[in-house]
Symmetry: C2
Subunit: 103 residues, 2 copies
DNA sequence: ACTTACGGTAAGTCATGGCTTACGCAGAAG
DNA sequence: CTTCTGCGTAAGCCATGACTTACCGTAAGT
């Protein structure tokens, strides 16, 4: 059920921007905020959400905190997607055919 | 940029439930509403969002509308995920190493 | 020690969006 | 033709959440 958190985390545009900024390289909160049209506290709050969705992780670097992408959240999402790919497609088209005949 | 709509569509729990109900077999709006704790109009509105995210499609069956899963939305999401998988990981860990040394 | 820089948290504001009821339209049924 | 069933849409309500400013703790620099 962990993919739910990932969906809500990445549903917000600002949060996606932050996440995609980390895609290039790890960054501090200040750096991330500079690249966004919102305040630094806002970025902090977004990072909290992203972290609890296991999409990023942050570790102290002296005075600052360096955030980087974590793949666990993405992995959960990938598994969710995969489960949709193979299954339910035969039973599915069969059901369509059945209902069409019913008309 | 179409994955954005997919994220927002699947971020809502009710919408995910509806989507996953369609995973088994195509269903009408009434059938979907019966399986959810919300009203039928609410389900209609959710289906509208899911449809514009290309996650489902509906076609008239006489009096009713039969909705079924459409894979385009999922495909866009999958591509987005894939782009995260390979790239940016070498440059990424290199950057971590660089910053650690800077301390 | 004092000051400055960085970042997390608290509190409050405002917009978004998910829900409801009410309504209207189209197809099926009688 | 009238009635009933199934859905979509409109309008309005209310909770959630994204943002702000203000504040506090901690590490670094002087």
């Amino acid at each position: 059920m962990a993919y739910a958190e990932v969906f809500t985390a990445l549903a917000d545009p600002t949060r996606r921007h932050i996440f995609e900024a980390l895609r290039e390289q790890p960054r501090t909160v200040g750096e991330l905020a500079a690249g966004q049209p919102v305040s630094r506290p806002a970025v902090s709050q977004h990072l909290k959400v992203l972290e609890s969705a296991r999409l990023v992780s942050g570790e102290p670097r002296g005075n600052r905190r360096l955030y980087s992408i974590k793949r666990e959240g993405l992995e959960e999402l990938r598994q969710y997607l995969e489960s949709f790919w193979s299954d339910a497609l035969s039973a599915y088209s069969a059901e369509i055919a059945r209902r069409i005949k019913e008309e």
